[in-house]
Amino acid sequence: MHSNRILQVESITKDYGTGDHKTTALKGISFDVLEGEFLGIMGASGSGKTTLLNCIATMTKPTSGNIMLNHQNISSFKGGALADYRGKEIGYLFQEFELLDNLTARENIILPLSLHGMTGKQGEQKLRELANHFDIVSVLNKFPSQMSGGQKQRVAAARALIGDPSIVLADEPTGALDSKNARILMDKLSAIHKEQHKTIIMVTHDANVASFCSRILFIQDGCLFHELRRNIRTETTDNFYERIVTVVAQLGGGSANVL
């Protein structure tokens, strides 16, 4: 392997509640993510995939285990280091876009830079590149309420990328989009991944969307359950999609049918 390991997840567990009310959402998951990888995480509702993503995003703390990004243990981050990590090292793409609806698209995209002491003027060049790439130049001065869902999510994607993060985390980014807009977004994200070798981790339960990934982890009941790797050179998206659908179907039928 010539690529570096950018993210190492080491036997993380996550419990909610205590005593009799304890629920274990993650039961000791370990995996590595290589630099430039487009990793998908799939699983049924309640399988723990969003909890896993939120642990990586430092939105929740794992009960045990370590998460290392660029060989730094992010579980130990606090205060300023935590805020820095969130803004600089990771970009987050939400299912519901989470644009601030009282800021224009331009102001929304610039926000992560502003939060880390840069001005809008300094980020102008990068903003223009991203706006061109995501085809949102025409809406830069508009407020979210004046945009379509697709435009909103592309603005959110530009916001996630403006700080040039080491890793982009996406939680069901197409969940609130129609199929056409979902396709446009995935094409754009995939292009970013290919051209800039950006590392992306995406949670989804849509096999179509997942087929853009280079590797997919399947989670069931808080455990890593299966892994699919796409052969980039030989395998088309359609073929990969077929394979994903098969696993998803087997997942639905229980572990007895798989492998």
Partner: protein, 678 residues
Amino acid sequence: MFFKQIRRNASKSRKDNGLLFGSLIIAIVAFYTLLSLESQDVMRFLKTIESGAVSKLMLIIPLVYVISLFFVFFLVYFAYRYQMDNRKKEFGLYLMMGMKQSRLFAMLMGETIWNSVVSILIGLPIALLLTEGISLTTAQLVGIGIIGHRISLSIPALLGTVIGFIIVQIAAMMFLCFQFGRKELMQLMQTDSPDKQFIATKKGWISFILGLLFLITAYGIGILMLKSFDLRVVTLIFVFGGAGTFLLYRGMGSFLGRQIRKKGPSQSGLFTFTGRQIQENILHQHKELAIASLLLLMALSCISFGIGIASGRGAENTRSVDFSIEGSEQDISAFLNSTENDALIAASYPMFLDQLDTDTHTFSWGLDAALSAQPKTDLRDTIIKNFDQQSEYPYIISQTSYNNLLQSINKESIQLKERQIALYTSFRNSLDFVDTLSGAISAGAYVKIDNKSYELLPSLYDENIVADRKITLYSAMIVSDEDYRNWAKNSSEPFSWNVLLSKDSVQKNGLMQEIQSMENCLKAAGLSYESYISGIGRNLFYTVAASYLTIYLGVLFMLIANTVIGLKFLMYQRTNKRRYLTLLTLGAGIDDLCSSSQKQIRLFFTLVVGVASCSAFFAIWSMFTSFLKLPAGMGIHRVILLAGIGFFLFLFIQLIYINIVERASRREILALNITDRR
């Protein structure tokens, strides 16, 4: 179980809405203070001397109370609507689980009544203590003394406060229950999306500029035209001022938007976010802001008016005579010389005052030339006209009488030389009149009696020559005793006998007590008299009535305005909680968010307080240059000092509110801490 839930919910809503709960307690205190006015020492005292006026005031008080209940109703309605909006989903769930609407209604009513009872239990003891304090202090200040103090607990006021407060609470809740009862279950279960931002348009700018122009017009009309106190002028001021304020707030969003667009790109941190938050807040809540700003303006104007009247009246009377007694010389001398009264009396003398006998003497004023040399004003022309008309029956005062008066109050006597006369007026409170007249006589004026010219002394004399209002003199002449005997219609009988009470006994027992005991003696002797106390009574009555009511209304308006602004902000922050969460995910620190919200709160309050203060400045200016004349002896620096202290206090109260809102907002942001919350 049901009651336990009611108690739990009620205590939670008190905790969540400390600001409203606190304001309601203050409202209770204010209500009781107003309603118990009748049982205050000062009012009980005034009743004995000005019973007619006091009973008229007591008729107005219920009306003022109803008006204030009406305002408080809106505050309560508005605050409860906000609370219910927050709990909409909870109500939806109760109904989904099969709770009957009537039971839900009973639960909400139960909570309201429970909260009202808690507020009353906290508010009333504070109110009782406060009114007791006010009663004692004012009594002490005006010298009724502690002897006359009675506990001012008033059962009717207590009942009035409790009933009024509970009715307002229940009425507001019933209105809301009715509104919510008509909503579909699905509407209750949905969470409201925050208001959508819309781009500032040209309309906003037009509004903003028009608002500014209207306000400037209102200020101008106030200062230049309010003097005439024409109803049309007042209406114009209200229309322009009100419309201007509304338009200004309506367009303010556009103005802020422009600033953000201009400055935003070169700023880092949460500058743009903070600006946009305020802009959005103003865009969506411009009506409430305008109302709050107008309420604050009313509060400032009412309080200034009240303080103006109170301090003005206080300075009006300088005490020169305590009693003016009428009767035969024999009776009066007998009374004054009796040993039991001796200790009470410091000075007594006859006041010789009469009309000049124009049947046997010719008389004319020689003031026209000197008055005409004064700056031309309407007043000057009126004075000239009045003096012309008054040459028919001019009044004269004997020099010794007036000197007796001056001596009794330790002032220098008048020394009249031959062919000299001093000018007197009892209109000392009309500053402009006194100024013009003093200017004229110091420039050299004279009178002609029997074709002989008499020089007027260059200073004007204005001590009150009777105890109260037995006589008021536009003008009179203080003449030598010899001249008095020659010119007066009846020079042998004094106008009245003046008595000044002994300083020692006044200091020992208080002026009021002493006057009252002297009055009893006079009544017993069957003499008719007037006393300084009636003047004090009248003044006190105006002071208490006008200042008490206006300050009460002012405080209430301020309370409502601040609570509305504070609640509006917190409501807005709560509806936009997600934004703060997003910012945390994007890497903003908790401290950044708190400081942004702090800036928002400060700017939000400043925008309301700023416009209100600016308008209040012009309103107070207009008031003091028109119907609220500055009393004599009150220098402009004293007014500025008073206004300064008043405004400082106002700002201090605003700071307290800002601090309360900041704490509440900070608490909410800290509770958002992203880790393990999403």
